[in-house]
């Protein structure tokens, strides 16, 4: 734990704390929505700790509240969480081994992955991932508990603009990576694919559809490889 403390500087700690706080505030609205939809107070808290993936939990609560079947709610939630498979392929080294690795795996989410990617070098990636992950593991269920207690008082969180927080956080953290031209182009194409398919596909799928833009990135990388005279045939 001490090494984790020293690996990150003050600015990074502040950024991570802020993201955890933002997650806690979104948790407020999640807990409030759940209890006003007829769930017991402990349900969003327990689900928050065990599922630990915000958008799938909002969707689950929404489907059950609308009278949908529990099976439909599970399938929709799993679809939304399917992006964790490519996330896990991208950041395996930060997770740790053995039983610690299992906790590290549970901590995988949008914020921890983006924080890990944004850091230079494995020790800092690992420290940022764990600090952000443990913070969210505390703040998300705690926010849900507080929201469930306050109930309808915090129901209209849109009036406070809280729905703009999550996209702004992720955007700020991926901006440095988007300086790379081929990655920016590929991401932009992926964004277009996701936005267009949102009109007719169920939640979760549009984000995965964005991966169809990846050949743009491989094509650019392959061209570069050819320029440097490396072997372009051997792939995967």
């Amino acid at each position: 734990m001490r090494s984790l403390w020293k690996t990150l500087d003050r600015t990074q700690w502040r950024d991570i704390a802020l993201v955890c706080l933002a997650v806690g505030v979104i948790g407020l609205s999640y807990g409030a929505i759940a209890v006003t939809s007829g769930f017991a107070w402990w349900f969003p808290v327990l689900m928050g700790a065990l599922v630990l993936a915000a958008s799938s939990e909002f969707l689950f609560v929404g489907i059950i509240a609308a009278g949908g079947s529990p099976i439909a709610a599970v399938l929709a939630g799993l679809l939304v969480n399917a992006r964790h498979v490519p996330f896990g392929l991208a950041v395996p080294d930060v997770l740790g081994r053995g039983w610690k690795g299992l906790i590290g795996t549970h901590l995988m989410n949008d914020e921890t992955v983006v924080f890990a990617i944004a850091q230079d070098g494995l020790p800092r990636k690992r420290a940022a991932y764990w600090a952000c992950g443990l913070g969210i593991l505390i703040c998300w269920p705690a926010g849900a508990a507080l929201g469930a207690l306050l109930g309808s008082v915090v129901h209209d969180t849109d009036a406070l603009g809280l729905d703009a927080m999550f996209p702004a956080v992720i955007l700020a953290l991926i901006l440095p990576a988007l300086k790379q031209r081929e990655l920016r182009r590929t991401s932009l194409a992926g964004v277009v694919l996701a936005l267009v398919s949102t009109a007719f596909l169920p939640a979760g799928l549009p984000v995965l559809i964005a991966l169809a833009a990846l050949p743009l990135f491989t094509a650019a990388a392959a061209t570069q490889g050819a320029d440097q005279g490396t072997d372009r045939g051997a792939d995967r």
Binding site: L18, A22, A40, M47, L50, A53, S55, F60, I64, A73, V74, G77, L78, N81, A82, R83, H84, V85, P86, F87, G88, L89, A90, T105, M108, V113, V114, I117, L160, G161, D163, A164, M165, F166, P167, A168, V169, I170, L171, L173, L175, A177, L178, L183, T186, S187, G190, V191, A194, L195, A199, F200, P206, V207, A210, A213, L214, F217, A221, R236
Partner: protein, 107 residues
């Protein structure tokens, strides 16, 4: 809560399934070594996913458009982040802009 037991079982199934989805990537990587170029591609795929997630979270609600207030708020945050503003300012400006726009009647 109606149908408490099936709902609880469904929630546990979602938790278990989500854990398996999280485990799939690392489990595969422990068995297969990828060439360097594939590693780059995997990291790129995470960025592409996160970019698509940002765009859909900022611009859409359900199957439709989320309205103007949220995307404008996110855009203000994005510009500030691009100009290397402190993270706190980025997040507060995004939420504050969306809130003020809604207060002014922009949906």
């Amino acid at each position: 809560m109606k149908n408490a037991v099936p709902t609880l079982i469904a929630m546990l199934a979602l938790a278990g399934g989500t854990f398996l989805l999280r485990l799939a990537g690392p489990a595969l990587r422990a068995r297969v070594t990828f060439p360097e170029r594939a590693e780059k591609l995997l990291e790129a795929s995470a960025i592409v996913l996160l970019a698509a997630l940002t765009a859909t979270a900022a611009l859409t609600e359900g199957h439709g458009f989320a309205g103007l207030a949220r995307p404008i708020g996110v855009a203000v945050g994005g510009v500030l982040a691009w100009r290397k503003a402190p993270f706190l300012l980025v997040v507060l400006a995004a939420a504050g802009t969306a809130a003020l726009l809604r207060l002014a009647g922009v949906r």
